[in-house]
């Protein structure tokens, strides 16, 4: 993944490299592209590896240190891999009142991982997150960017097998 493609001079896929070319030109100031760029890079690469940080710094025209200074501020950005499906359980007040901790526990039990743990097959990771803006449909979680509302611990196994199926389906397609 961190190999440089000689055509695009980028470690990212041609589509993402092209998107980044446009992104830095879009704003009155180049640096405004930094945070979206980091997030989109992470979506593709899984995390902000040294190679990702280096290329983003080069594209924006700032130092790697400046990129890290900004990236460490934002809680969605990470410097080590998460699972292919990162399960983010909101436990903030509205979710907590409707049983979020029970849901959180159940995910950890089913997957035999602790907070921020990744399953050995790399498929899932579980973390507790702050309010995700789904308070009226609590308890809610996000799996990567997908919301799941009105959860109960009993719904957890079904959600996991659904994502396992998706991973398998994709493997078969390839």
């Amino acid at each position: 993944m961190s190999e440089i493609n000689p055509e695009t001079m980028s470690i990212f896929s041609p589509a993402l490299a092209k998107r980044f070319d446009a992104l830095v030109e879009m704003y009155p100031v180049k640096r405004s592209a930094l945070i979206p760029m980091l997030l989109y890079a992470q979506d593709e690469a899984g995390y902000l590896s040294d190679a990702v940080v280096a290329e983003v710094a080069r594209r924006i025209g700032i130092t790697e240190l400046e990129v890290r200074n900004v990236a460490t501020y934002y809680s969605m950005l990470r410097f080590r891999p998460a699972g292919k499906f990162n399960i983010q359980v909101c436990t903030n007040i509205s979710c907590m009142l409707r049983g979020a901790y029970e849901v959180y526990e159940r995910f950890q039990e089913e997957l035999s991982v602790g907070p921020k743990g990744v399953t050995p097959d790399g498929l899932f990771s579980v973390e507790e997150v702050e309010c995700i803006g789904a308070c009226c449909w609590a308890p809610a979680i996000q799996v990567n960017y997908d919301f799941h509302d009105d959860l109960k611990p009993d719904l957890v196994p079904g959600i996991l097998s659904d994502y396992r199926g998706r991973a398998k389906g994709k493997a078969n397609d390839a």
Binding site: N69, S75, N92, L97, R98, Y101, C135, D150
Partner: protein, 437 residues
Amino acid sequence: MPRLVSHPDEVKIISRRFGMGATNIDRYLELGGYQAVKKCLSQGPEWIIEEMKASGLRGRGGAGFSAGMKWSFVPRQSAKLKYILVNGDESEPGTCKDHLIFLHDPHAVIEGTIIAGLAVGARMGFIYLRGEYRYLLEIVERAVADAYDRGFLGKNIFGSGMEFQIITQTGAGAYEVGEESALMESLEGKRGVPRIKPPFPAVVGLYGGPTVINNAETIATVPSVITMGAQAYAALGTPRNGGTRLFCLSGHVERPGVYELPMGYNLKKMIYDVAGGIRGGRKLKAVVPGGSSTPVLLPEEIDIGMDFDQVGKAGSMLGSGGVVVIDDQTCIVEFALRTISFYAHESCGWCIPCREGTDWLKKSLTRFHAGFGTEADIDNMQYLAENMLGRTFCPLGDAAAMPTIAFVKKFRKEFEDHLNGKPCPFAREGVPQLTVV
């Protein structure tokens, strides 16, 4: 897809296109969309600002500042470019209204942004969504692209010869970025730390230019104000609190959901009638009326109208419209701990009273909840919180301090029940209890 709810008492202004397919630009036009901006183009900036002032529309992000006044502070002449900034970084716990606006009616946000641009003479607007709202960002991006295709955005909007551009932007997970100056920092590609004020954004904002920053709900309301007329809009609410707003009822109610109700609607009625009362026939213990940063209200304090002034008089704040209802089986110490843990996590660390204060409060509450608090801790927490108030660049320190003071004052007895190693009276399975060895 988040479930939509309805109640006969609702007055649907902002939510009238919810569930009607208005993400499609043709459907939005069919439903009366982009008429308001045309009216504004013919009436001119002074008229728009006067309408906004007369409408009584106050900022829906939480501060409740008059939108028309805010717009009027932007200097007419400026050497630097002016900007409109739409704050869709919705992160206040208990609040999920912008979620529905972006999901169901993104063109209302776009139209409101253009109108704000016309009013203050800006040619560029940004719609900033929190990073977690990726699927909503994609909906908004699609809507913006459609608006460009129709010539509603671009170099010559609606054939008027005027220019207006919109750029969408994603955050990457930070509550603090919801604060206006921190949002500008974030948009400039920096850590989301607040700027000192003055100068206010209306004078020196994004990229140093005069900037209007409004909450997404405020902006989405603008086209309706223009279409129905300021007087008619204002008349829906109470004096100095024009119109309606989206109230997010969550927690222990039978029918949680986002309901659009007139400003000044009775809180008790909202909980017992609109949201169907307390879940499972339990009793009400407390209500957080406007997002987790607002001081908690007791059951005997909720017979009030939900507008900025009346909730203020009751010792709390209308805030972001997130009404969190708490039943009598809930441990207030645990609730306070979860509230403060959030602020400790989200404090950007720029101002010491907030950075240290939130962490200290979290530690005290954690120990308390584990049954190892001391009598002195109760007063210390209050003393600490009182000393955070007003001593930080941005209101995050206050947002942590205000609810703490209220929890301790109003539920002192419950804090005392946790003293001397007594287990939490509300302990239940599945809830991690810290044990101190």
